[in-house]
Amino acid sequence: MRPQVTPPSSLDLGRASSSTKKADSRHGHASTLLDVAAIEASAQEHRHSDAHARPIPWVTGRVGAVEALDVATPTLAPTQTPALVEPAPARRDPAAMALAERAATASLNAALGIDEHADFAAVPAGSVPVAGAPKAKPKKIDPKRPGSGIPARKSIQTLVWVRRFSQVFFFGLFMFFLLKTGFRGSFAANQGEAIRLPYPVEAFLLADPFVATMTVFSTHTVYRGLLWSVGLLALTLIFGRVFCGWICPFGTMHHFFAWIWPSNYGRGGSRVEANKTHGYQRVKYYLMYAFLLASLAGSAIGGLFDPICIAVRAIGLGVIPALQYGLGRGLSEVANVPVRPVQTVADKSQDFLATTVWQSHQFYFHQTWFILFLLIAVLFMNRFIPRFWCRVLCPLGSFLGVFARFALFGMEKDHAKCTDCNLCLVNCQGADSPQGGVKWRQDECHMCLNCETACPEDVIKFRFLPNRKSSIQKPDLQRRTLLATAAAGAASIPALRIADSLDANYHAKLVRPPGAVEERGFLERCIRCAECMKVCPNNALHPAFFEGGIEGLWTPILIARIGYCEHSCVLCGQVCPTGRFRKLRKIRSLAVECRRSRSVPPSTIMGAVYRGRCRLRALYAKSFARRRRRRFGWKKSRRKSVKRPLVPPVKRRR
C-alpha cells in the first residue's frame, strides 16, 4: 500500500527516514514513529522503505532491500531532479531513473498544458507528442475504481474478454481432440473402409515449436505436420507469448486453478508479492536449453516436460480413466436403486459417457498414478505461486520467451503516474513486472492484458512497436549457469545410456508399439506425448515406468497382459506427431493409392489374404512382422511351409 493512503505506511515512511542509518531504526521505537517532523522531513527527502520493494537483480545487480523506486508526487519532481541526469544513472539506480523520467514527462506536460491524467500523457518523453494531441480528452473517471479511477481503454477491455473466450475455446478444442483420440466406430462407415480418426487429434502437438525443435535437433528433419509449429512461432514474433495467455490448454488450467485456489496465505499482499518477478523464473530457461542439448545428443526426453504432452498424458491416461472408474462405479450403484426413472437416468448417462467421453470398457494404464500425482502436485503449487508451472518450469513457455524479444507488440508505461497501488500485480499471469518503476519483462509476459485493465492510473499501455524505454526483451540469464545446465543436458544422454537399459540387458517388457522404428531412432523421436496410448482401442499401449531406464520414462510399451494389438489397426501410427512410425506411414500412403483402384482382386501372399491393399504393402507387412518377431523374439510363424510370394519381394525403400 502507498504511504499516502494508509497510516501504517506513513509510519513506515517515518521509520525509514528518521535516521540515515536505516538499519538501526528498523525496529522502530514508538517515539520515532510518531515524530511528525521526521515524517515531514522524509517527505522532503522522498525516501521510504516499501515492504514489497524487491531487488530486481537483472536491473540493479543488487541483493537485499532496495530503496523507493518512486514516491514523490509528480508536481514535486521536476524541480528536484534535473532531467539531464537521466542517462547516466538509469541503468544502475531505478529510483533515479524513475525520477528522471517523471521529470521529463511532467515538464513536457507542463509545457503543453496537459492534464496529468489525459490519455496521451502516457506517450513517454522523447516521442513526438503532437501525434497524440488530438486524442487528448480527459477520460471519464469511474468512481467505483480505486485510485484515480481511470478506466482502461475500451479496446483493451474488449481484448481481455476476447482472451477469456479464446482460452475457453482452445481448452475446449483440446479436450475435444483428446476425447476424439480413440476409436469409437460408426454405423455410417462401410465395412471395407479403413479405420481412421476423422479429426487431427494431435494438432496441438503439431503446433508446438519446442517439440519441433527437439525433433529437428535429434533427427535433423522437420517431420510432416510439425511444420505447423512455424505458425505458432510467427504468432510469437508478432504478439509475444500470446500462446501462453490465450491458447495453451495447460496454461489455461493453471490460470483457472491459480484463480480459484489461492490459500489465505496466497491472497492480498502475498499474492502481489508472489506475482513480482523472481529469480527462480530463470529455471525454465535453463531447463529448456538442457532439453534442447539433450535432444542434440539424441533423445527427445524434453517431452517429459512439454506442457501439451503433459496435458495429453495426465488427462488422457490419468484423469479420464479415473473419472471413468469413479463415475462408472457410482452410476452402477445408482442403477441398482429399484426405482425405474432413476435407473433409466443412470443407464442413459452411462450410455452417453461411454460413447462420448470414454470408451465402453474401463481403460487401465501402467503405473499411471505417478503421472496423476505429478499433475495434482503441479496444480496444487498454484496455491502458493500462481502459475508456478508456467513461470518456473515450462520449457515451451521459455522457448517462446526467447523469441518474444522480437515481438512487435508490447508494453509502454508512464512511471510517473504510478502510485504503487500494485493492482496490476494482483492478476498478473507471467510475473513480468507490469508495475511502474521497474522494467517490464517481455519474455515473461503472457499478454493476458490484466494489468492494463486493472491500472487505475493510466500507467500501462500495450501497443504495436512500443518504445523500449521501460522494457527488457531478453531473458535475463546467468551465463555460467546457462552453460552448466546446457552441458548437463548434453551429458545426461550418454550418462543415461551407459546404464544397462538400452544396449545391454534390454528389458524384456520393453516391447515397442507396432511400426516403431529402431530403438535409438525411437528415442530420438518419441516425445512421450501419450497420444498413441490414448488412442489404442485395445488398451495395449502403456507409458513405460522405469523399464527403459529414466530415458524411457513414459515412452509407449505394449503390455499384452492388459490388451492386445490388432494388427490391422495402426491408429497409433496415425496420431503420433513425431513420426516414430515413419515407415508404416509411408507404406500406408502407397496403400491409399491402391485402394482407389478397387478392381484389384484379393491376393494371397504367404498364406494370408490381402484385399484392397497393394501387394507392396502386403509384402511389407509380412516382412515387417518377421523382423518384429526376430527383434522381440515373438512367436514364430506356425506355418512351416512358406509359399513363394506372388511377386518378388520389394527392396525396402530408403
Binding site: Q191, I195, S360, A608
Partner: protein
C-alpha cells in the same frame, strides 16, 4: 509429589472426574462398541465370499413359444440353387423361405414385442472372412421381425475383439441401422452379475440387452471352431457372458451346454451363406470359407447344430456338447426325428 495420598491430592490436576462425567465417558465407549457390533452383525457374511452377492436367481431365460407349431416344420433348411445364369437367390429370399417353413415370423412375434436379434459379432473381420454373421442375414431377420409387428428390434452381441471395430468391420452395424434396428454395443455397465446355477457357470456377468426382451432370435453363423470342432447356435450364447469368459474354454463343451440350458431362444436362424471350413472361430483367410447359400431355421437349437455340423463335414457324435444338451433335454441331437423340411 511422592506418596501423595488420594484424600489430599497435591495438585488439582490429579483430581478425580465427577461420577457424572465418568458415566458419560463409559457410555460413550460402550456406545461405540455396541454400534460397531451392531453394524458388523448386520452385514455379517456367514457363507463366505459371494454367498450374498445376487438375489436374482433363476436358471433359465426362456423365450420359447408355449405351444409348439402345430403343423409347421421344426427344422427348415433353405438351400439356394444357382439359376441358369449362375445367380444365387438373394439372402433375404432364403431367410424368408426358411422362416416361413417353420411357421412364419408372425407366428413367433406378437404385435408390440421387443425383439432381440443376436448375431455373432465376435471378431474384427469382414463378412468375406465368414467369422461373423452375414450382415444381410441380420438385416433380413430384422426386417421380418418389424414386418411381423415388433415394436422394437434390437441387435446386440458381446464381442471378443474390440467391439467398435467388430461392429463396424462386420458390416452389421450399418446393415442393421439401415433397417431401423437399435444396435447396442457391449459396454461394462450393461452387464449384470447373475446366478445361472449351471454345471460350470455359476455366477456370471450377463449382457442385459440380450435378455431384457419379449422374444429372442438367435442368428449365429455356422463355422469351424478349433476347440469345439463346429459351432453355431449353442455356442453363440457366449456373447451373453461378460467377464473373463476365455477361461471357460478349459471346459468348452460343458459351458456351451450350460449356456444353451440358460438361454432358450424363440427361434434359431443359422447363417450358412458362407461357411468357415477351417481355422475357426476367427478365420482370417478368405480361402478358408466356402459359399454354401444355406439358411437353417429351427425351434430346436440342438437339432440346428446337429444338422449344421454336417455342412463342414463333422458328425454329431464328435461334438460332446450336443450329447450333453440332448441328455439334459434341451433339444434333440437326432434331427431326423423332427419334422424337417427342405425348401
Amino acid at each position: 509429589m511422592e506418596k501423595a495420598p488420594e484424600t489430599n491430592p497435591v495438585s488439582p490436576y490429579f483430581s478425580r472426574p465427577t461420577r457424572r462425567e465418568a458415566l458419560v465417558r463409559l457410555a460413550g465407549a460402550g456406545g461405540v462398541l455396541l454400534g460397531a457390533g451392531a453394524v458388523s452383525r448386520a452385514v455379517w457374511d456367514r457363507g463366505g465370499i459371494g454367498a450374498a452377492v445376487s438375489q436374482h436367481s433363476g436358471t433359465t431365460r426362456d423365450f420359447r413359444l408355449k405351444e409348439g407349431p402345430a403343423d409347421f416344420a421344426e427344422l427348415a433348411i433353405a438351400k439356394g440353387k444357382a439359376d441358369e445364369a449362375g445367380k444365387f437367390p438373394v439372402v433375404e429370399e432364403l431367410v424368408r423361405r426358411a422362416v416361413d417353413a417353420v411357421g412364419g415370423m408372425k407366428h413367433f412375434i406378437s404385435r408390440g414385442d421387443i425383439v432381440v436379434v443376436k448375431p455373432n459379432i465376435g471378431w474384427d473381420r469382414t463378412p468375406l472372412h465368414a467369422a461373423n454373421t452375414n450382415p444381410e442375414v441380420v438385416a433380413a431377420v430384422v426386417k421380418l421381425a418389424y414386418d411381423a409387428g415388433a415394436k422394437l428390434v434390437r441387435v446386440a452381441d458381446g464381442s471378443c475383439n474390440e467391439a467398435n471395430r467388430c461392429f463396424q468391420k462386420s458390416g452389421i452395424w450399418t446393415a442393421a441401422y439401415d433397417v431401423g434396428a437399435e444396435v447396442i454395443l457391449p459396454a461394462e455397465h450393461r452387464y449384470r452379475t447373475t446366478r445361472m446355477k449351471q454345471e460350470v457357470l455359476d455366477e456370471w456377468p450377463i449382457f442385459t440387452p440380450l435378455v431384457d426382451a419379449d422374444k429372442v432370435i438367435n442368428v449365429p453363423i455356422a463355422k469351424h471352431h478349433n476347440l469345439a470342432k463346429y459351432t453355431a447356435a449353442m455356442k453363440n450364447w457366449y456373447g451373453v457372458l461378460g467377464g473373463r469368459r476365455n477361461r471357460l474354454h478349459q471346459n468348452i463343451d460343458t459351458s456351451i451346454a450350460d449356456l444353451a440350458t440358460f438361454m432358450r431362444p424363440t427361434l434359431t436362424i443359422v447363417d450358412a451363406i458362407r461357411v468357415l471350413m477351417r481355422n475357426g472361430p476367427q478365420g482370417g483367410n478368405y480361402d478358408d470359407a466356402r459359399e454354401m447359400h444355406t439358411i437353417i431355421a429351427s425351434i430346436d437349437q440342438v437339432a440346428a447344430d446337429a444338422y449344421g455340423c454336417t455342412l463342414i463335414g463333422q458328425h454329431r457324435d464328435n461334438l460332446p456338447y450336443l450329447a450333453m444338451a440332448h441328455k439334459r433335454g434341451i433339444g434333440t441331437m437326432y434331427w431326423e426325428n423332427l419334422k424337417v423340411r427342405e425348401v
